[in-house]
Symmetry: C2
Subunit: 364 residues, 2 copies
Amino acid sequence: MSILTRPILEINLKNILDNYNLLKTIAAHSIPAAVVKDDSYGLGASIIAPMLYEKANCRNFFVAHAIEGERIVESIPQAKIFVLQGFGEDSKELFEKHKQLIPVISSPEMFAYWKEARPDTRKPVIHIETGLNRLGFREKDLAKLSESDLQEFQMVMSHLACGDEKEHFMNTHQLENFDALKNLYFPDLPASLSASDGVFLGENFQWNMVRLGAAMYGINTAPYRKNQMKNVVKIKAPVLEIADLPKGEFVGYSATYRASSDRKIAIISIGYGDGIPRSLSNVGKVYFQVRGKLQEGRVIGRMSMDNMICDVTTVDGLEVGDMALITDDFYTLDDMGRDAGTISYEIMSRVGKNTRYIRKYIEE
Amino acid sequence: MSILTRPILEINLKNILDNYNLLKTIAAHSIPAAVVKDDSYGLGASIIAPMLYEKANCRNFFVAHAIEGERIVESIPQAKIFVLQGFGEDSKELFEKHKQLIPVISSPEMFAYWKEARPDTRKPVIHIETGLNRLGFREKDLAKLSESDLQEFQMVMSHLACGDEKEHFMNTHQLENFDALKNLYFPDLPASLSASDGVFLGENFQWNMVRLGAAMYGINTAPYRKNQMKNVVKIKAPVLEIADLPKGEFVGYSATYRASSDRKIAIISIGYGDGIPRSLSNVGKVYFQVRGKLQEGRVIGRMSMDNMICDVTTVDGLEVGDMALITDDFYTLDDMGRDAGTISYEIMSRVGKNTRYIRKYIEE
């Protein structure tokens, strides 16, 4: 019997690379860019960006904030790093320092500030709004740009609202808007419309550059069919204790679970402090590979910061020190997101930032 | 008009210190210990632990994992650091290296491993189960301990399930269990039953050591009355863009919001990638201090990783570059937790681990 205390986070770099390469072949006529914002969705941009640079010859990267670009700029020296949140007083110095950073300009105000404070003649990207109603120049803003303003940019981009729903009317609506605005204002510029989800909508959505993020990290961005991507994240956590739970006893904070019969419980050394959603309280599933069988337990009671409590009454042969499988190839972050009432993106973004995991990068 | 892009996280160290000192006076006959697990709920244990050590003479700290203890051990050289998740093969080396780390032993299996592998004669804490049905020796486990086993420990502890509900039957139930088990097995040992919530239940819940965590960080652990603690966390994020939203248009991913009249929207540079719960989509509130008035906006559509979209139709005088108040003294993480369908603990634990914030520690 082994006694372990820490959870384990496995990040499969090989599968990220394979996913990236598969996405490249699906968008074979576009330039691939890797989205490594939010520290590569928490998985570690300082490891993933240089891997894609070296092993897949990736030369275009997207981050949200300039500070995220600064953290990887030296490891990808010949690459462009596009900064989605753009250029501001709080990032001006970073743009001065690093010529590789390319701001994405999304409003007339930001563009005015760019023209006043820009460090040199590098050309930004312009983000135009086509239906998401998030960041981007609206048509009336575009109409106010002068002829020389329109020459200031190196690429035009937009972003899909419903790219993960193949038949959603919004997709063609945005595509038509993008096509019209691009032809009217930026007929000669390269264009980028789609992130991972848009890549699967077909070649007319792929334009000149595709922004590969979620799918590269294994998320199913085309949930209307089986995931073509390889799973990237596995989480395990040790069983710290196994105990009898007599009928009538309560479990966890606020006593939200009461045993209706005698049960067996396991205390697992992982909780919301490790990024696992607390909304899995009383609904989540946990798996155990013991006695040669994959067996299922159930989260009971409220999840705590450091632990969760599982009903393991039907799990045969479980011992203290065995590892609970929290996510795996057969129960992915997408599955967990569905059970937790959120999306895998949010869980991934949280999990990876926690420093209590024994973190393992799988390279082969 | 200023143009900013990054969100700001303000952590008020002075208020943490004041909260700690107030909690000390409420539990005046107990030894105070500071709970700094999960990187001080994400707020930065490497700053908060030494502050409490130096300015409040705190000499007892609780972490979840030994690795968390290692990160602060040199900054609090004369303190004891109790490790709640205990002693295992994956933490043995850290316990050998740092004599200040004191394991909390919570199962017979862990105790057996401790006796086999312990680095020296330091005495651990024993965690006993009194009603939470999480970690801890059950009574039948205690009954099996030999006379000499019972001498192996320096303190006995347990943990309340419902300490934040003053009249919950579980409180007296656990108090009676704790009292009985302690008197039977550990009559001469100091005892610790309560975290912040139990401190407010009265002196009979305070025993010899109280574990001050959530309340110290400003969370209301006695929600049946007005919070006596000072607020610790303020989050601000810049307005990146303001736009008209014509009647009938959709907002955000999956087009979950549709404008039933002409609206004005603001795009705020913060999202779930910064630890803000995605469950605030279409329900969250955001505040703006403009034109000398505190004005309220509403999150509409799905929150994204880097941005959220707010209805600011009724906000008078808002400009690009103004800061949205995401949490503040008047809308705390407790309030946000309620709106997001979770608890402040979970949000705090996420927010602080994000490195995109401009992080400010307020000392005065």
